[in-house]
């Protein structure tokens, strides 16, 4: 079968989907980010030595933590939303509302995390 990509990534991203499309993109970004982060982290710890600590030092930097926290929290909270809606498809009718609820849950938690990271970073 002659498979091909129909629409380039950049064109696709310009499509004016609304909230739900954004969550899809961020979820993917989060999953991908985490997978890369965890792989490198495990390998780094396994290998150890200079290379290992080089990477692990990056991870412990507060700016990096803000990013990875975003990935993890968003992916986890959004993933829970997806799981719930997928297992009870009737609820998918209210997907839009579910996305609002999700942001309402995500923002305070992530906000707190960022706050703590920054204060710790400044304090320490």
């Amino acid at each position: 079968m002659g498979l091909k990509r129909n629409v380039s990534l950049t064109t696709g991203l310009k499509y004016k989907g609304q909230g739900p499309m954004l969550t899809f993109v961020l979820h993917r970004l989060g999953g991908l980010g985490m997978a890369i982060f965890i792989t490198v982290h495990i390998l780094a710890s396994f290998v150890g030595g200079e290379i290992g600590s080089f990477f692990n030092n990056i991870y412990e930097h507060w700016a990096f933590q803000i990013v990875i926290f975003f990935f993890v929290l968003f992916h986890a909270i959004n993933g829970l939303r997806i799981t719930i809606l997928d297992l009870w498809p009737k609820l998918l009718e209210h997907l839009r509302e579910a996305v609002w609820v999700e942001w309402a849950v995500f923002i305070p938690i992530y906000g707190l995390a960022v706050f703590v990271i920054i204060t710790t970073a400044l304090g320490g």
Partner: protein, 143 residues
């Protein structure tokens, strides 16, 4: 009025590998939630009650293992090294890796559109997954 059976037999409902992985992704998500919460509660029970650094909370969550919780203020790390916690940690590694690697395959499928490329990705990902699980479990049981 119903003229046909309301339920399709197991082999005739399209339950193929893709759909199995689809449901696995959801169930593994739930499993990860359960394991992570369990580990965090474990940490709290073990005395991390005044711990505020969320990075560390995550560390307990994702890898409840004595080397991994090193830098926290849990007073005694010994309990983390019990077989029980090692099992919990291993389970998490297993589930998360499978979930994550399959996720990578799903993403790759969206950008690699030749059937050949797709099989290569699948092969690499299986090797990669086994390697990561191997390393993860090895670290957990030897540390």
């Amino acid at each position: 009025m119903a003229t046909k059976s309301k339920s399709l037999p197991l082999t005739k409902r399209g339950l193929n590998f893709e759909m199995l992985m689809w449901i696995f992704t959801r169930l593994s998500a739930l499993a990860m939630y359960a394991l992570i919460l369990f580990a965090i509660i474990g940490a709290l029970v073990m005395g991390a009650r005044n711990q505020m650094n969320l990075a560390d909370v995550l560390r307990w969550g994702f890898m409840p293992n004595n080397t991994h919780v090193l830098s926290t203020d849990v007073p005694d790390l010994a309990p983390w090294a019990t077989p029980f916690w090692r099992f919990v940690a291993s389970a998490l590694v297993l589930v998360a890796t499978a979930h994550g690697v399959h996720g990578l395959v799903v993403i790759a499928d969206d950008y690699i559109v030749s059937p050949r490329g797709r099989s290569i990705v699948r092969f690499i990902s299986i090797v990669f997954m086994l390697a990561m699980i191997g390393i993860g479990v090895y670290v957990i049981w030897t540390a």
